[in-house]
Point group: C2
Chain length 200, copies 2
């Protein structure tokens, strides 16, 4: 019995679709903006995709926002295998890169070859942060938890003893993707310090 | 003191961003594919956005997949106010339309006027289901829970006493957006019936 190539493609795509549902079970450190619980990677990916649509005008002129959205939808898929790493945990962040590459090798290979390569290229681009699209996408990825922490009396900052200097370093990544969002994020950080929700 | 117009715009966009975080708290009927818990609207919106990227070749030629993704990211925002309605609850579905329009009036108005109108137009287009983009987006929105139910021994079908005839009617909406995905969904439905996970 031979399987029609189209049927083969669809089966591979469905296998990928079933696999990526697991992203909903990967829990991040930061809380929802109402503070009720921790966020998962799937809803976070939706949220930053929406931010790209809503805050797109704060990207440099000429930025391809469709690619930014696509990049953000796939940017955390590798965490299905590699798990979420707290951005302020330096040791874990260093070990994470290799684990995420291994995860990418497995997960994107579930798709038909050229499609898997195309979608993986979005993830590679995001990680490399060399294009305006990737820099803006990464800026939004950093912006979202600052917004959430600002709205939850510091959220993960006091909980994990993060200091203002460390957060200001992350704000630099936002500034590199979007000067205006970087300036806004810095305002939020200074306000959080003034309110005692983030320690110097 | 006057506020610079750009600052005004950003403040409105941030207010919208803070508001839509609530979508993560709106719980749907269907389960995750691993059956562990019910899905929320935000992670569902991410999931169908990903399906548009992965299954895009099953849309009619010429379909603008970027608009499909954008539509799917915003399609459930109105449920922040109107709540989730079970697709097989006819009475609730009829009452829902007015509640959702009222919700759209409030939520999209948080954005700067022309931007709010632009994003609301995506939601209107999705609801009207008159363009190939909207028909494909709605097909994916119907496809996802069938995939989840098929993988969770019928999931919400036996739980809410849904019959095969009702599901086949929903499959028609998938067929109208994508004949090949419609055919695949029908296969899943018949398999579920054969396995005793969906009653005739």
């Amino acid at each position: 019995m031979t399987i029609a190539p189209e049927e083969d493609r669809l089966n591979a795509q469905i296998a990928f679709a079933v696999e990526i549902d697991k992203l909903k079970r990967i829990v991040r450190r930061n809380l929802l903006i109402d503070g009720s619980r921790r966020e998962n990677d799937a809803e976070h990916s939706w949220y930053v995709g929406m931010l790209a649509m809503v805050l797109g005008e704060h990207a440099p002129p000429g930025t391809d926002l469709h690619r930014v959205v696509a990049m953000l939808l796939v940017h955390d898929l590798v965490e299905i295998d590699a798990g979420d790493t707290f951005v302020y945990d330096q040791v874990a962040v260093a070990a994470q890169a290799a684990a995420e590459r291994t995860a990418a090798d497995r997960i994107f290979a579930l798709l038909p070859r050229e499609q898997g390569a195309r979608i993986r290229a979005l993830w590679d681009e995001f990680e490399a942060r060399e294009t305006p699209e990737a820099r803006f996408a990464k800026a939004l990825d950093r912006f979202a938890p600052i917004l959430a922490n600002h709205h939850t009396e510091g959220g993960t900052w006091p909980l994990f003893k993060v200091k203002a200097g460390q957060v200001r370093e992350k704000v630099r990544i936002i500034q590199e993707g979007s000067p205006s969002l970087g300036a806004y994020a810095l305002e939020l950080v200074e306000l959080s310090v003034a309110r005692g929700h983030l320690a110097e």
